[in-house]
């Protein structure tokens, strides 16, 4: 195991005291340390939002992209250099709201990418508007009479859309979360870890207490993550009992990178660039005679 401090950097964390993002940051570092992945072997991608600042607080490769767009940038990097471990960090508004189309499309592609979503069910950084994951009736600055939309369910959507690993964690239980993130990294294929992340400022509904009273662990409830139908039904559970743990996992599916012929000889980013040979050039010109 590596020293967790390997991933520390001198940047001052700007999250509010008590924010659920701290637990996620610690869990991520701890998972990497336990798996002995060095800072230069992993690359983080995030969007914009409170949660998306996470990579900035770590010593590791990262690309803080734009709001909602971590996934496609990560995909481009993975396809250019699949030697890198790729971890995406998104907010709920970021990853499921404005980034919704990238989300449903990464599900169909199964790249070997880990996606950790900091799901606080509110827009934190922009000061408390409702999010797609906000519960129906959630009162916020832009929904003074309460949201009138069905909340977006990332877990059922992921299972429905083709994800091969779907889990939910709770940032109030960082040990359990660490295990989930480790499992996600070890999973070959796209792995979603949706994290229940209390925003202590703007979400007065889904608080630490709210979750502590409700969460239960799937692995303790005899859940079989291999069966898609069961997983999908389970993923609808919300209310008195909220499941955390691995909801769904199917192994043996080829990753996207595995299926790209052009990557058989190794990452394209690592090929030395030189002009084509005379023979290659002639063959290319030949297309036009």
């Amino acid at each position: 195991m590596l020293d967790v401090k390997t991933y520390n950097n001198p940047i001052k964390v700007t999250w509010c005291p008590g924010c659920g993002d701290y637990g996620i940051l610690n869990a991520v570092k701890s998972a990497l340390a336990q798996l002995e992945i060095h800072p230069h072997e992993v690359m983080f991608f995030s969007g914009i939002g409170c949660g998306s600042k996470l990579p900035d607080y770590m010593n590791a490769n990262s690309f803080t992209t734009i709001h909602g767009r971590a996934l496609p940038v990560a995909m481009g990097t993975k396809l250019a250099n699949h030697d890198l471990h790729v971890i995406c960090i998104t907010g709920d508004g970021d990853g499921y709201g404005i980034g919704g189309n990238h989300f449903i499309n990464i599900l169909r592609r199964n790249p070997d990418i880990v996606h950790i979503a900091e799901n606080n069910m509110v827009y934190g950084l922009t000061k408390g508007q409702y999010a797609p994951t906000s519960q129906r009736g959630f009162v916020a600055s832009t929904t003074p009479e309460g949201s009138i939309e069905v909340a977006f369910n990332p877990l059922t959507t992921a299972i429905n859309g083709g994800a091969t690993f779907v889990a939910r964690g709770f940032s109030g239980d960082p040990k359990h979360l660490t295990k989930l993130i480790m499992a996600a990294i070890q999973h070959k294929g796209y792995a979603l870890v949706d994290v229940l992340q209390p925003c202590v400022i703007y979400n007065k509904v889904n608080t630490y207490d709210y979750y502590r009273e409700r969460v239960y662990k799937l692995e303790e409830a005899g859940h079989d993550p291999k069966d898609r139908d069961t997983a999908w039904r389970r993923a609808h559970e919300w209310g008195d009992k909220i499941p955390i743990g691995i909801l769904y996992q199917v192994t043996g599916e080829p990753t996207y990178e595995d299926q790209v012929s052009e990557l058989k000889a190794g990452p394209v980013a690592k090929r030395t660039l030189q002009p084509l040979t005379r023979a290659q050039a002639d063959a290319l010109r030949q297309e036009f005679f």
């Binding site: 481009g76 993975k78 396809l79 394209v268 290659q280």
Partner: protein
């Protein structure tokens, strides 16, 4: 009237799906095998079957740079072609059609065009046993009428139908031969334009702008292309997809253009030369990510193949209407490079330069083309595409060995005099790499408060922008110095301007041209003296407002004396330019 040799335009026209394009391409090949020079372009509708399409071949014994508007021979596959294109036939020219089709003959003859009725279907049926060969028959007749030796037509038939088996080849050959015979017999005498093979018949490439760009990209070592289909850019993606295996290029059609450019940015930041291609609508969706590439300093090449806007506009027509949009797209100010090749040769070289510039300056490079340039074809000597000799310059990309030797901590955004920060590919133990869309410090960490840091980082990017210009080229000059009239244009209008200059000079009206490929940052030092020296400056552009003229005035203060603009979806031509020049009033 004396016969005119090796200087004519042939147009094949019909519905989508009638084989206009394949027939035209076949005939062009036959001409090319005779050593002739060609320019070919097509017009088609935004639909898959039916409608009105044409494929037009201009043939000559000297190199051609553009199409001309007048048609000498219109081979019509559908009645509508007549009403739409009849007026394009020059006096003395001819309309050839299958006698099975009904035409409004009067309308044609009123325009002093000849009517060449041919039993195409009948011959196809009787000789070939299949009316599908009517096209072949028509092409045979065409060759007969212009007295182009049959052997060249036969050669292409053998080549093109080879994989369909001998019976098909023989059938088509017989049908073409009969078409040739009948066409020649009936109409050769009355038709004034003739084509004969030249003595020299070097191999030349028949290539369009998109293909030339893609070839340039492959030559430059492009390793990643993502895109989303959009006319007229799609064929870049498609060509790259077809070549992907041979050159180990990852090619990906994404869910939309937002993802397309972001995939490319991800790949570019990871160290693969990466590009995307789209048209204006897709480019609109890429605008936010363009700024990301600017801020995070990621090399990426973006092809913007223009078509008439606004919005969906005219998907299969041409325009140069997106220039100012490309220059200023995305919030804030950051270095970007905008290049607009005018010919296939320039498409090739611009593509290779684009990748070098993108990596050297670590910024997005936009290559602007348009429908006309991307689809029009010319016959070009292969030496113009020196694929195996392109220079690949990755700029300050640190090698693993350089990184191994690194003494200080790696700073992705190190402040340097040039503005360029040496770049590490993510993955090296000595260089943890952090890129950031927020204003950041030299390391790449968020720093979106501090005023001094902002001035340092914005200053660094600003210096890049100002230094880039040293790598850019001034305009191409063609025509005599000190001309009375100077045409000024950019991108695809090169050919039309060049031919207009030749015509004007032949008439004694001393003209020259300034053609810009490198547009932004505007190569002020190189361009301004030339612009200022122009006596009568004429802006020639395929848009309604004179966008390049706007830019030139903003930078140099010089206002063109005249504007020749076109925005009806059709490409500029020498005729159009000269006609407007004569009409043009001083621009108010």
């Amino acid at each position: 009237m004396a016969k005119r040799r090796n200087d004519m335009t042939i147009r094949l026209a019909g519905e989508a799906g009638q084989g206009v394009e394949s027939g035209g391409a076949g005939f062009a090949k036959a001409l090319s095998h005779g050593g002739l020079h060609l320019h070919a372009f097509a017009e088609y509708m935004s639909r898959i079957r039916g409608g009105l399409n044409f494929f037009q071949i201009r043939v000559s014994d000297h190199p051609l740079w553009a199409h001309t508007e007048g048609v000498h021979m219109l081979l019509a596959f559908s009645p509508e072609t007549m009403s739409q294109y009849g007026s394009h036939i020059v006096p003395g020219g001819a309309l050839m059609f299958d006698d099975a089709l009904k035409f409004d003959h009067d309308a044609i003859t009123r325009r002093k065009a000849q009517l060449y009725s041919m039993p195409l279907t009948k011959i196809a049926q009787e000789i070939g046993g299949n009316k599908i060969m009517a096209n072949t028959c028509g092409l045979g007749a065409l060759a007969g009428i212009i007295e182009y030796p049959f052997e060249f037509v036969a050669g292409v038939i053998k080549q093109n139908f080879a994989r369909k088996g001998d019976a098909v080849v023989q059938g088509n050959l017989k049908v073409a031969e009969e078409g040739y015979r009948v066409g020649r017999e009936r109409y050769a005498a009355s038709f004034d334009w003739k084509v004969s093979p030249l003595a020299e018949r070097p191999d030349r490439m028949m290539i369009n702008g998109n293909q030339a760009l893609a070839v340039g990209a492959i030559a430059a070592g492009c390793r990643f292309m993502s895109g989303y289909p959009m006319t007229p850019a799609s064929s870049v993606l498609e060509f790259m997809a077809a070549q992907a295996r041979k050159h180990d290029i990852v090619v990906k059609q994404t869910e939309d253009e937002i993802a397309a450019i972001l995939f490319a940015i991800g790949a570019g930041n990871a160290g693969a030369r990466a590009m995307t291609a789209t048209s204006g609508g897709g480019f609109s969706l890429m605008v936010e990510a363009l700024g990301l590439a600017g801020m995070a300093e990621v090399p990426v090449v973006i092809v913007e193949a223009q078509r008439p806007g606004p919005s969906t506009g005219m998907p299969t027509k041409t325009e140069q209407g997106d220039l100012l949009f490309a220059l200023f797209a995305s919030q804030g100010e950051f270095p970007r490079i905008v290049l607009a090749p005018g010919t296939q040769e320039e498409c090739f070289h611009t593509a290779t330069r684009a990748f070098n510039l993108a990596e050297k300056w670590q910024c997005p490079v936009i290559v602007m083309t348009d429908f006309y340039l991307t689809t029009m074809m010319r016959l070009i000597p292969p030496a113009e595409f020196p694929i195996e000799r392109v220079a690949i310059d990755r700029g300050e990309l640190l090698t693993p060995e350089q990184l191994d030797r690194l003494a200080e901590p790696y700073l992705r955004y190190r402040d340097t005099p040039s503005g360029i920060s040496p770049r590490a590919m993510p993955g090296h133990p000595k260089a943890v790499h952090q890129a950031c869309s927020d204003e950041h410090d030299e390391y790449g960490h968020f720093e979106d408060e501090d005023s001094a840091n902002r001035l340092m980082m914005a200053g660094k990017r600003w210096r890049k922008f100002h230094n880039i210009v040293e790598d850019l080229r001034g305009p191409t000059i063609y025509g005599p110095e000190g001309a009375k009239t100077t045409l000024m244009g950019w991108g695809s209008s090169y050919g039309a301007m060049r031919e207009a200059v030749d015509i004007l000079n032949a008439r004694g009206a001393r003209a020259n041209l300034l053609h810009f490929v490198d547009i932004w940052p505007f190569p002020e030092a190189k361009a301004t003296p030339l612009i200022e020296a122009a006596r009568e400056l004429v802006a020639v552009e395929g848009n309604q407002s004179g966008q390049f003229a706007h830019l030139v005035r903003a930078v140099t203060g010089r206002r063109p004396d005249k504007m020749v603009l076109r925005w009806d979806g059709r490409p500029l031509s020498s005729e159009y330019i000269i006609q407007r020049l004569e009409e043009a009033k001083v621009h108010a």
